[in-house]
């Protein structure tokens, strides 16, 4: 009996000891598992919005319904609304100036001596921007002289960017419009229009098709003339001298976007490219135009880099995709500003989306990270929007000085920078730690979440100095917000000798 009691006592002690020691071991294992799982989730390609869940529409995971408003807070009207002019678009001005220089015109004589009246009109309104545009041409020459010395370092990045560019420029889908829009926009129409059950049904189906065609975020709105260029219409021979008419069949616009590949984008400027986003957005616009034509409706696709009659970011804001950022681009809840837009204008009756208010303006007013990081100082650092553009209150932005740095940057084509996009705290992957914040901040009326997040952003995160993003021939060290991904480091794959160090965020080990 005594032995039996002793035996039971020993068993109880043994079980207790097992639980005590087992519990400690389990706690240690859990901590290790939390660290390991966290690291893997940070690496997880499933967090790359736009790469895997697109067709199911699951890239657009943020529920916009609670944030719908009648008027977009970042499209505040404070003066008479003016439509954009042909010359407001930099890629209309730039080739005109370039050709004038080629033909013997001396830019040092000043913009007043240019023959092109529309370009002159732009610089008469913004004379302070002319030196920046001139400097862009100078920087392009510098870039051409120095770029090849760095080919070993950037070979894979440039090959990546230029492959997408080839795809963008060489493919004829969708074809550029050549006829009057009353003809060209109907070129794919097959018979009488199919009758949809209602505009709501049409919008629902259109969105499904946009996701199916590869876009991550979509919105629909009535086409607002405020964002349709004057004197600009793509036709055979160019896009000028159209007048102010807007075709009658341009009723609604479906606007959508895709992200640029995340890891090269984070390594802006030198390792990044926009052309992957452009290529995918362009292709989706062609597919949607073809689909609308099959159902008997007009379609006018708008696609990047320059095939537009409309200004897409404010249209995307009206369509509830996001809001306007300090740097003037669209911020979406899912992708931040890492989105490349395309659109299709149509005569199909659609139910429009409403704009949203996720308090991006309050965030941008306090953040200023993009303005501090901008290698050309093109983004306003004011605490409140300090400019009025065609009747809308915005933060000031100098597109000519921005372009000057594009011409400086060690990218594949000298046509981009993307540093302001990479450093934006909204440009974060869809992993749990960022998505919790993205869901909490718009719902927090006290602003505590925003202030806490920004305190961490400003103090915990590493941002290279603005000058560091420059190439070495203008005093920088080719910094990126992140170091380049493994697959863009030429020393990992090519027979090259690594003679450089990286400056940017890394995994921390």
């Amino acid at each position: 009996m005594s032995n039996q009691v002793n035996g039971e006592g020993a068993a109880v002690t043994s079980r207790r000891n097992f639980l005590k020691l087992g519990g400690l071991a389990a706690a240690g294992t859990t901590i290790g598992a939390a660290a390991g799982a966290g690291f893997v989730l940070g690496r997880d390609p499933d967090a790359n919005v736009g790469w895997g869940r697109t067709e199911a529409g699951k890239d657009m995971f943020f529920n916009r319904k609670p944030f719908e408003v009648d008027h977009a807070p970042t499209l505040e009207v404070v003066g008479p609304i003016e439509r954009p002019e042909w010359e407001d678009y930099l890629f209309n001005r730039f080739p005109v100036i370039g050709k004038a220089i080629q033909d013997g015109w001396d830019p040092n004589n000043g913009w007043e001596t240019l023959e092109d009246e529309q370009v002159k009109k732009y610089y008469a309104r913004h004379p302070d921007r002319w030196p920046e545009m001139l400097q862009a041409f100078v920087e392009q020459n510098h870039r051409a002289q120095h770029r090849e010395k760095h080919r070993d370092r950037f070979a894979l990045a440039w090959a990546n960017g230029r492959s997408w560019l080839k795809g963008l420029e060489q493919s004829n889908f969708p074809p550029k419009p050549v006829d009057h829009p009353d003809i060209d926009d109907f070129k794919w129409v097959q018979g009488e229009p199919a009758e949809l059950q209602s505009p709501a049904h049409a919008s629902k189906l259109i969105k499904k098709m946009v996701f199916t065609f590869g876009a991550s975020i979509v919105g629909i709105t009535k086409l607002d003339p405020a964002f349709v260029f004057k004197n600009m219409m793509r036709m055979k021979g160019g896009n000028r001298n159209w007048g102010e008419d807007i075709p009658k069949h341009w009723k609604n616009i479906i606007v959508f976007g895709v992200p640029m590949n995340w890891d090269p984008m984070y390594a802006a400027a030198g390792y990044s490219t926009s052309y992957d986003g452009y290529f995918r957005a362009k292709t989706a616009s062609g597919l949607l135009a073809a689909w609308l034509g099959e159902l008997g409706y007009a379609a006018r696709p708008q696609w990047p880099g320059g095939d537009y009659e409309t200004v897409l970011p404010p249209i995307a804001i009206q369509a509830g995709m996001g809001e306007s950022a300090r740097n003037g681009v669209l911020i979406t809840p899912e992708l931040g500003p890492n989105i490349r837009l395309a659109a299709v204008i149509t005569n199909l009756d659609l139910e429009p989306d409403k704009p949203i208010n996720t308090h991006v303006r309050a965030f941008c007013e306090e953040c200023k990270i993009c303005a501090d990081a901008c290698p050309s100082g093109s983004i306003s650092k004011a605490s409140k929007p300090d400019s009025v553009v065609r009747g809308f209150r915005k933060f000031a932005f100098n597109q000519d000085s921005c372009y000057r740095f594009w011409s400086t940057a060690p990218t594949d084509s000298g046509k981009g920078c993307r540093v302001c996009i990479a450093v934006c705290p909204y440009t974060r992957k869809n992993n749990w730690i960022h998505t919790i914040v993205k869901e909490m901040d718009p719902r927090d009326p006290t602003g505590i979440t925003r202030k806490t997040l920004l305190a961490m952003q400003h103090n915990f995160f590493y941002y290279p100095e603005a000058e560091a993003y420059h190439p070495d021939w203008t005093g920088g060290n080719f910094a990126g917000y992140h170091e380049p991904p493994e697959w863009l480091r030429s020393e990992n794959y090519l027979k090259v000798t690594k003679t450089w160090e990286y400056d940017g965020n890394w995994e921390g080990f």
Partner: protein
């Protein structure tokens, strides 16, 4: 890469959940060992602290995983230190609150 594996991912999270039973069973034995009288709200505080610690570690390593090295270590250092201090205070409070209960028995 595990636990992104289609096959291993679900068992990983199930095992991690099961381990928490052992963690709290062990914690119960330790509480008895040091004669801590625990009740539901004390266990809630301990559980909340444990969950916060795990989230902080996982959050820091998520940042490291996505190449935000600075942010990951700073986050672990600042928030983790705060949690360790908070945990020590919680333990002290549990012992202080334990005295009257021990006298009554």
């Amino acid at each position: 890469m595990f636990p992104q594996s289609t096959l291993l991912d679900p068992p990983f999270w199930m095992l991690l959940g099961a381990l928490q039973v052992l963690v709290f069973a062990g914690a119960g034995q330790w509480a008895k060992h040091v004669q801590l009288a625990m009740n539901w709200w004390k266990w809630s505080l301990v559980g909340g602290w444990w969950f916060s610690l795990l989230l902080t570690i996982a959050g820091a390593f998520t940042l490291l995983g996505e190449n935000e090295g600075n942010a990951g270590w700073y986050f672990l250092g600042f928030v983790g230190t705060g949690l360790i201090v908070g945990g020590a205070i919680l333990l002290k409070v549990l012992f202080v609150l334990n005295k009257p209960a021990a006298n009554q028995s």
